[in-house]
Subunit: 360 residues, 2 copies
DNA sequence: TTGTAAGCGTTATCAG
DNA sequence: CTGATAACGCTTACAA
């Protein structure tokens, strides 16, 4: 295996200086078109790739940091899948910073310190950063590129933010149930300290309002996104005098809890209870019956977040002016990308009657 | 935020040269104990961490590469969880190289080229490397530290290898079924091009032999690890004249397929069919009923693999002589670590009778 | 045991 | 538009 080529070798081969090669490699505008071409030719012939370590040390890192919660959290792998896919097509490499559950604020900020202090990565993608948002803002203010991917939808005014439309997803899901003829539709919310829980609840209420169905307090339960909480809430709902014909759980895990509750009460899904979840995690399609749920386009979200970050890194001057295909608001000079969510219809829902509106 | 400290600052503060600080930081033996202590004190006081970029450029990278298949493959997150946990406690950072399904041999070796050519990482943890093994051997021969974590159990003679005891897991699972009183126990194998499929099948046969039960060819099906294949195989098995009372599927996904087959045939799990899976992926405990399965200690496997790799990197001279707590064979100067697997009992199995042997 | 000095491969600065 | 030259922060012969 030949010794690794350096920028110097390329320079010699192309008959220019290292500097010029560097300029070409970094897409600098101030290079003669012809020179650029000549250099590129040599670069490609030899499959030359600049050393990440050297670039980083010299101040132009080609390393991207990803700050993620436990990889075992169901949504993460899909997001990272999208992220990795984009990175693989670039000169950048991905450095993983995993924060585990137990880590409290202190450890989180320690990790962030570590990230910055080492000046290793060129930018940071923070996925579901939880409490760290405040700290991330500090970084951003110091000129360090940060993109947040989260569902908390309380965007910092300054950090570019990628999210999905939680409210609308819940709205569409509930609307779907209404169209199937359901009128007693229960909702198991997520914990109220999360913004998503409110957004999804809101979507549910909106859909009911539109259908002129009253929101009945007894049909609203509050879980904590765990299976057992879903089960508990569902047990209460399903033993109501007038039990709901459909239950919309705020996430798939609680929906699975509904399945368990139904089973223990001898009720079948979907024949006697219709169930809808949220997230479309990997096992949703494996459930018995396969779960109708609201899909967040997680891989796309990961992709767009990392693409945004890459652009921020490569054009530090005009960071807040991109057009974006998905849906973009330009608030106080920052970027917010909201991805669409949509209902994935599977077998967990039963049609109660055939209202004409369905045909629409 | 104060300017980042460098090794030079530490040196000044401790009243020694950069060289000495470097030596201390790298645990070199040739430093006076007292000096070392003095330096360490300063280092700790200031929470100093050496620059990964600079170290790497200077020839001692603190970056570890992880080559993984799709993150969305069910076993990966748990493994990576263990990996990340260990890395977090060290000075190293983790660089992710994700290979996606579509990538054929060519792309894989391209990634590997990329990994090496950039001289970025100090070593590589290859998780389920598939076809790349051959190439990995080449790296290893060139003195580049590589550890493989795989279930294919055809260890290269030279690359340290971390795995789990597939045969014994299957053996224990089958033995468990025998103890429950089952005698017509079917097995849905994985595809025969994988070594795991054979290992697990072997465990199944061994357990039956021990119980003096004949292996009946009709009770052996071969799937491809997908849900639908499991379902198909199970449908055949469950419509046999003398249908099995228990089905041992070679992975959890096929076990879920068995659930579907049972349901479509109006058979209940576990009342009419007992089911056991393999892997204990995250959703196994969420299945209805929760699946009895064989657990591979994935996080521990990840942990031990990365620890092994770190040791190889830090002691390049004597790479093949460690003691290991789990179970270690020293074959032809390489290290093989085999983790124990064990049966996780959940609700998917029914006891047919109460043989005395159970009390044992 | 410790220090001096020469890289490691880029990028940035500043002249030409 | 192009090219010297000096960083970047650390490791590692080689000397002392």
């Amino acid at each position: 295996m030949a010794k690794r080529m350096t920028i110097r070798d390329i320079a010699a081969l192309a008959g220019v200086s290292k500097t010029t090669v560097s300029r070409v490699l970094n897409n600098r505008p101030d290079v003669d078109a012809e020179t650029r071409e000549r250099v590129m030719k040599v670069v490609e012939e030899h499959g030359f790739v600049p050393s990440v370590a050297a670039s980083t040390l010299a101040g132009r890192s080609r390393l991207i940091g990803a700050l993620i919660p436990e990889l075992t959290w169901p949504l993460i792998p899909e997001i990272m899948h999208g992220v990795a896919e984009v990175i693989a097509q670039t000169d950048y490499e991905l450095v993983l910073y995993s924060v585990n559950d137990r880590n409290h604020q202190k450890d989180r900020s320690e990790i962030l310190e570590r990230i910055l202090e080492r000046k290793l990565v060129a930018g940071l993608l923070a996925i579901y950063p939880g409490q760290s948002t405040e700290y991330l803002e500090k970084l951003q203010r110091q000129g360090f590129p940060v993109v947040i991917l989260d569902d908390q939808a309380t965007p910092s005014e300054r950090i570019p933010w990628v999210s999905a439309d939680q409210r609308n997803g819940a709205y569409e899901a509930t609307r779907y149930l209404v169209r199937l003829g359901h009128r007693r539709i229960a909702h198991i919310r997520g914990p109220l300290e999360y913004q998503v829980s409110h957004d999804r609840f809101r979507g549910y209420c909106d859909a009911l309002a539109e259908a002129q169905i009253m929101v009945e307090p007894q049909l609203i339960e509050t879980g904590d996104f765990t299976l057992s909480s879903g089960q508990l809430c569902a047990e209460r709902l399903l033993t109501l005098d007038q039990r709901p014909t459909a239950i919309f759980a705020a996430n798939d895990l609680m929906a699975q809890g509904v399945y368990f509750a139904a089973q223990s009460l001898g009720l079948r899904v979907p024949e006697e209870v219709t169930v809808v979840g949220f997230d479309d995690v990997l096992f949703a399609s494996l459930m018995q019956p396969p779960l109708t749920t609201v899909r967040q386009p997680l891989d796309e979200m990961g992709r767009s977040a990392i693409e945004l970050l890459l652009r921020m890194i490569e054009t530090p001057s005009l960071p807040y002016e991109w057009k974006w295909s998905v849906s973009e608001r330009n608030l106080s000079r920052s970027v917010f990308i909201t991805h669409k969510t949509h209902v994935v219809v599977r077998a967990s829902c039963k049609q109660l009657c055939t209202p004409l509106s369905l045909s629409k």
